[in-house]
Symmetry: C2
């Protein structure tokens, strides 16, 4: 049964076919059965089906076509708003306006997001994560009208696969596991663990296309450069605080 | 196939039975097939099987018995160390010593953790998440010898179920989903959404046992009080910075 999980791949192109509301609700209900901190369910999912709203969300995701072409876009949010409202209505003094509480809710939201993806994939749907969510959280908050104590942490596009691409590579298992304690990587380890990745023709082409010397430079200079990371760190930290988590 | 996901529950008591290394590796390899930011695989999993090491980890998890009685304890870490080492060896200047990069790696680690859980459950194993990981990250870093740019974000205990408890309640689906934009909760919404949870005899007993007036007070005064959250916020922020992510 785990064979399906092992063979999965990200799907960015979808058929022009709606996802029935009953199925979507079933998948969400299934996802909400995952573990959650203290059974507090510190998350909310915003369901976008409306084309105008997809258009409004698109710029926050750097206009990746998957946002406007997927039948459903789901924004998973760390949400302490509902829980805090419950506390206040029950004569209980909430103390959740801090970083640890934000991070706990973010973990809850990520667990649910991933379980939704797996449930969807087991039903023949395809998904794509949008890492842009934490870059442009302020715009997403505005478009989705997210109140205090609610932060978007990831977005998923979902639909029936139009094209099923080949699986992309992964590092060998030993690259990501450590027995008992962390054994740091020697230069020889790095060479060995990245050898296959660096040998792939598509990755070599990627270097040429970007006029770089090494694959790593494509990441540091083009895809995830320092200046961007630092800019989006400030933006994200700022909005977490503005939404009510003080630190 | 999603019926198994829907019927899942957390397992805290395990049989005295090892998990074969081949199966564990297979489950990890399956989990590593989940989405990861830019295919960077910004995570590491520390596998604890040794009893002495479980004993050393236990205090960081407030001595929850599941840590020392599970055959396997897995600590999932946000890991930019390996990627940064790769960049440095490839004449590329990494710019990943910031909050956004830490958070990206944390998301990667959470996605993988949840997929591991699902794969394990589909193979008849049971899991329990330990939310204590972000509280006592400094001790965990010391015990597991985690280098700069590596932060533990969650821990999972795994084993063959000894006792399968009943499923615990969840809020009704409508509590956690919003159509197109966020509709904030009125007091009447909160009353309706929490009605079933508050009516359950085990939750009413929970109030009595803790000498409280409401279930919410058990959370705010006993389980997750403000002073603890604020203390562990400072500890966690401090260690994230000490491990090299500047903000």
């Amino acid at each position: 049964m785990t064979e399906d999980l092992k063979m999965r791949r990200t799907i960015r192109k979808y058929k022009n076919e709606e996802i029935p509301e009953g199925l979507l609700n079933e998948l969400l209900e299934t996802a909400f059965r995952t573990s959650t901190t203290g059974n507090m369910q510190l998350y909310s999912v915003i369901i976008t089906r409306d084309n105008d709203n997809k258009q409004k969300l698109a710029p926050a995701h750097f206009n990746q076509p998957t946002v406007t072409t997927a039948p459903v876009v789901l924004t998973f949010c760390a949400d302490f708003n509902r829980f805090i409202k419950w506390c206040e209505l029950r004569n209980a003094k909430p103390g959740y306006d801090n970083f640890q509480s934000f991070f706990t809710a973010a973990i809850d939201a990520m667990i649910v997001a991933q379980q939704f993806c797996t449930a969807a994939e087991l039903c023949g749907l395809g998904i794509c994560y949008l890492g842009t969510t934490t870059y442009n959280a302020p715009q997403i908050i505005e478009v989705l009208n997210l109140p205090k104590y609610v932060i978007p942490v990831t977005t998923i596009t979902v639909g029936y696969p139009e094209i099923i691409p080949p699986q992309v590579e992964r590092l060998p298992l030993e690259a990501n596991i450590h027995y008992e304690t962390y054994k740091d990587y020697t230069p020889e380890d790095i060479d060995r663990l990245y050898y296959e990745k660096e040998s792939l023709s598509e990755n070599r082409q990627f270097i040429t296309e970007n006029n770089k010397e090494t694959l790593a430079q494509v990441f540091t200079d083009v895809r995830y450069p320092k200046a961007n990371n630092e800019h989006f760190s400030e933006v994200f930290l700022d909005i977490i605080k503005k939404q009510g988590f003080k630190f």
